[in-house]
């Protein structure tokens, strides 16, 4: 396809990977699912309320995930050191090959890979020449790509289509397996302290287990149907856990909002998957769909439409602009849940979806040859929107939530510019340091019983030294200062945009993504600045908590106890923090740039080597890899350091000089400049998006329409570019059509959201009342009635059946035999002749009968 891409490094050869853990990976989600069932069934009777089951299950899963990862690494190494004598190469004809492979997937240990005509153990001239040609092409290297392990069973068949269920394991899958189980395990441990004494403790751990099971099921899916199931399951768990404390109105509202916003995107998911199914000759399998998209058998127009539909799903699940508004609200859930679901794992489901179906997106959106496309634009806008909104939040969790949106935008951007590995790598490092940050925020709020940085925090460094240190490490990693994890992955994304070549005066392979580089760079600066702000407001200055004691008379003993000096959290909170902080320091070393400090190739790009499928597997597009650039790395580090410096000067010097307990300058820039003040107001109102969605103040209907038009036109521009590149139409007509289309879509989405939220708001209370009524009057009443009636029935049974029928029959049998005996005794007179008379009479009778009958 695209000519701008270099040939893949490892040539066109592929071998089938195999191994026990790779083929039986279904065990891992199955363990978590059974843990959910056991916790629901027996959790309340356990000494620790079911948490021990969850921790044990997720611990086992983590070990299994590590073993799976180890086996995958072994398989990749084996494939890389392949020689034609030792390996069975898969024939390099993907369209036929994938069919064969899916048929033989169940027992490829027997069949192995597919014997090919490249001289395996054969010495005729043709194969020898093929081998020579191949060897020359590879400069002596005989490495091959390891193909994902597919284990499938037919679920059911209908109309000639096999609906299969199974697992697909490759580098991407094992990465997610390890990340999900690791973060989930630490969150489980953390939660035993954090939600200790909660009234729905068991329910909480049950849902953690279910969530982990759903996410693991999602990442191991072999076909898109399973992905939909996993996708919806994580959505349900998210809903349940955001609304964990549903007694308070905002929490249940937030849960509803998250669910409804995700539903909007889910429609896109369903439509996209259905289009893919028909476009790829009625195939559900991920490998088949990708292979069809890559080798050009799938219609390009359908791919474009499908990937735009799937993009809607990604936007809602992964909190991309303009469907991100649910994510900050989702912070209403318990903090460990925010760490696990709304930062580290669930929200990356969208990113994972793109990464998994990368063939579809790559060709559908023409990522390889395009200068701009919907995915990259959405990602770039999202990083900026998220980072700018993170500035004005007072709630520490909301800062992290917007930061998550911003970082997810980074990942989407990376996928949009073709830097697949950078996106997945950033996903991994981000999961570690963002979980660390969230859990750290939870630890602080656990101590001060609040999330408000300006009112209740400040100076926490003195009270919570360990939390402070780990949070600091997480912040540096997020800000992207070397050598912590965030630096490596962020820098890889920036390099992956290829835009740096533009500044260096090169005509780079895909240098046209320059605008993405600029936006990413601005975001990096903003990230560094707002994290500095969070550090100051939370850990430096003077402790501003406990003010409730001063304002209220201290006759309230409870308040006294509550607002004592905050103290450091317990070990079950601190150890997950330490582990995550440690990983945040070292995780970046997994993927050192090529040729970094002259390290041998066995030390660099390990992540890329083991995780990224090669084009030779047939289900992954040929993507280019940007060359790492020292100048870019130094420049981005300087940008970040500069942003930290500015924020440091503002908060640590100016604000601190004003008063140690101050949070902002009294006469700060936003009050002096009208423009800045307007900008600040707009940020405070979250770009009025929520107001557009619910049509409320201060925007009003007219303002909502105006903003809607702007966003719609922006979306339309994006779409226009996509259509332009995807369909090779003329630019301006497709721009106009795209703008119209985008406006329509945005209007529909807004209308759907608005009516959804409206309906939900209007209907919620009656619904709740109705549900309560149903609960009281139907379910409970039914249970009561059943109970009462059971007692009645049992009474009746005792009275009539037991006493009457059973005892009665026994007694009747006794009485009957007694009476019969009384009657019969009169017959036994003891007179032999009487007996004889009867006997003769009987004999005569029988003889008479005999004669009559015969």
């Amino acid at each position: 396809m695209s000519t701008t891409y270099l040939a893949a490094e490892a040539g066109d050869l592929a071998v089938q990977a195999s191994g026990f853990f790779l083929e039986n990976v279904w065990i891992i989600p199955a363990i978590m699912a059974s843990s959910f069932a056991i916790i629901l069934g027996f959790g309340k009777r356990m000494p620790r309320g079911g948490s021990e089951i969850g921790i044990a299950a997720v611990g086992i899963c983590f070990v299994l995930a590590l073993m799976t990862a180890g086996q995958w690494i072994g398989q990749v190494n084996e494939a890389a050191n392949c020689t034609p004598e030792t390996c069975d190469y898969i024939q390099d004809d993907h369209s036929e090959d994938t069919d064969d492979r899916s048929e033989d997937a169940d027992d490829h240990s027997d069949e192995g890979a597919f014997p090919v005509d490249i001289g395996v153990g054969s010495a005729d001239g043709e194969s020898a020449s093929a081998l020579t040609a191949f060897t020359e092409a590879k400069e002596g290297s005989t490495s091959a790509a390891a193909v994902a392990v597919l284990s499938e069973r037919t679920w059911w068949s209908n109309g000639g289509i096999d609906f299969t269920i199974g697992t697909m394991v490759d580098g991407l899958t094992v990465t997610l397996l390890v990340v999900v189980t690791l973060v989930s395990m630490l969150v489980h441990i953390y939660s035993t302290d954090y939600v200790a004494g909660d009234r729905r403790f068991t329910h909480y751990f049950g849902f953690l287990s279910l969530f982990t099971a759903a996410m693991l099921f999602f990442v191991t899916s072999a076909n898109v149907l399973q992905m939909i199931v996993g996708w919806e399951l994580v959505g349900v768990c998210s809903f349940a856990l955001i609304g964990h404390w549903w007694e308070e109105q905002p929490n249940s509202d937030a849960a509803l909002k998250a669910f409804l916003t995700n539903r909007v995107g889910d429609i896109g998911l369903l439509i996209g998957m259905i289009i893919l199914f028909f476009a790829s000759n009625e195939k559900w399998g991920i490998i088949e769909i990708n292979a069809g998209a890559i080798d050009g058998t799938t219609s390009h127009t359908l791919l474009l439409i499908a990937s735009l539909c799937l993009l809607a799903a990604v936007m809602s699940k992964s909190g991309q602009f303009f469907l991100h508004t649910w994510l900050p609200d989702a912070m209403a859930g318990p903090t460990p849940v925010s760490a696990l679901i709304h930062a580290a794992t669930m929200v990356v489901a969208g990113v994972y979806l793109i990464a998994r179906l990368y063939g579809v997106f790559f060709n559908g959106l023409s990522i390889g040859g395009s200068s701009i496309n919907a995915l990259a634009v959405i990602g770039a806008v999202t990083t900026l929107v998220g980072a700018s909104l993170a500035f004005v939040q007072d709630d520490i969790k909301k800062v992290l939530a917007y930061s998550t949106i911003s970082q997810l935008g980074y990942m989407t951007l990376a996928l949009g510019v073709g830097a697949w590995t950078a996106a997945v790598f950033h996903l991994t490092t981000h999961a570690l340091f963002k979980a660390c940050l969230f859990l750290g925020a939870g630890s602080v709020s656990h101590a001060v019983h609040s999330f408000d940085m300006k009112k209740d925090m400040g100076g926490m460094r003195k009270f919570m030294p360990t939390t402070y240190k780990t949070f600091l490490i997480g912040s540096i990693a997020l800000a992207g200062l070397p050598p912590l994890a965030g630096f490596w992955s962020k820098d890889e994304i920036l390099a992956g945009t290829g835009g740096w070549g533009f500044f260096e005066g090169k005509s780079h392979a895909n240098g046209a993504y320059t605008i993405m580089l600029v936006m990413g760079m601005i975001t990096a600066a903003m990230t560094a600045a707002y994290m500095t702000r969070v550090m100051y407001l939370t850990f430096f200055g003077e402790f501003r908590g406990g003010h409730h004691d001063d304002s209220h008379a201290t006759d309230d003993g409870h308040a006294d106890a509550l607002h004592d000096d905050p103290h450091e959290s317990g070990p079950r909170i601190l150890w997950p923090l330490r582990i995550l902080a440690g990983l945040a320091v070292v995780a970046g070393l997994m993927n050192l740039p090529k040729g970094f400090l002259g390290l041998p190739s066995g030390w660099t790009l390990r992540f890329e080597h083991y995780v990224e499928p090669l084009a030779a597997t047939g289900y992954f597009p040929k993507i280019s890899h940007a060359d790492p650039s020292w100048s870019l790395a130094i420049f981005s580090t300087l940008v970040v350091a500069g942003a930290v410096g500015v924020a440091y000067y503002y908060y640590f010097v100016r604000v601190n000089a004003q008063s140690p307990s101050a949070t902002e300058l009294v006469n700060g820039p936003t009050e002096r400049s009208g423009l800045l003040k307007a900008g600040h107001t707009m940020l405070k109102n979250r770009y009025y998006l929520d107001h557009i969605y619910d049509g409320g103040e201060p925007v009003g209907a007219a303002g909502a329409s105006a903003m809607g038009t702007i966003f719609g036109a922006a979306a339309g521009l994006t779409l226009g570019f996509s259509l332009d590149n995807g369909l090779n139409q003329d630019f301006w007509p497709s721009l106009v059509w795209g703008a119209l289309l985008g406006l329509t879509i945005f209007t529909i989405v807004t209308a759907a959201l608005r009516s959804g939220m409206g309906i939900a708001t209007v209907v919620k209370r009656p619904m709740a009342n109705a549900a309560n009524w149903v609960h009281e009057n139907i379910i409970d009443a039914a249970v009561d009635e059943v109970g009462k009636n059971s007692v009645k029935t049992a009474d009746a049974l005792y009275k009539y059946i037991d006493q009457g029928v059973i005892d009665g029959s026994v007694n009747a049998a006794g009485r009957g035999s007694q009476g019969a005996g009384g009657e019969l005794r009169r017959w036994s007179t003891g007179k032999v002749q009487q007996y004889a008379t009867v006997m003769f009479a009987g004999a005569t009778l029988l003889a008479g009968l005999l004669i009559i009958v015969i």
Partner: protein, 100 residues
């Protein structure tokens, strides 16, 4: 000679025997009546055997029955003797130890 003549004789003997068994009170007479019944059966057997022919001569059964009857009478008389010793009476109406 017709078979029916033998059957009539046999049935008369049988009826007399039955009457004796049911009506007489003297135990010895009851025993004798039983002999009559058995002999009625013997006549029947021999008559049927003579007129219809059979694989095994009917006399075999008759002799067999006579032998059994002899044994039966022996046991019966011994019983009667014992009853007499115990109750100085062989009136069967008084022998009602099995009365319920």
């Amino acid at each position: 000679m017709y078979l029916i003549q033998f059957l009539i004789l046999s049935s008369l003997l049988f009826c007399i025997g039955v009457y004796g068994v049911l009506a007489r009170r003297n135990a010895v007479l009851v025993l004798m009546s039983i002999e009559l019944i058995l002999n009625a059966v013997n006549i029947n057997l021999i008559a049927f055997g003579a007129f219809n022919g059979a694989a095994i001569p009917a006399e075999v059964f008759a002799l067999f029955i006579i032998a059994v009857a002899a044994a039966e009478v022996g046991v019966g008389l011994a019983l009667v003797l014992t009853i007499y010793r115990n109750s100085k009476n062989i009136d069967l109406d008084h022998v009602d130890l099995l009365k319920g």
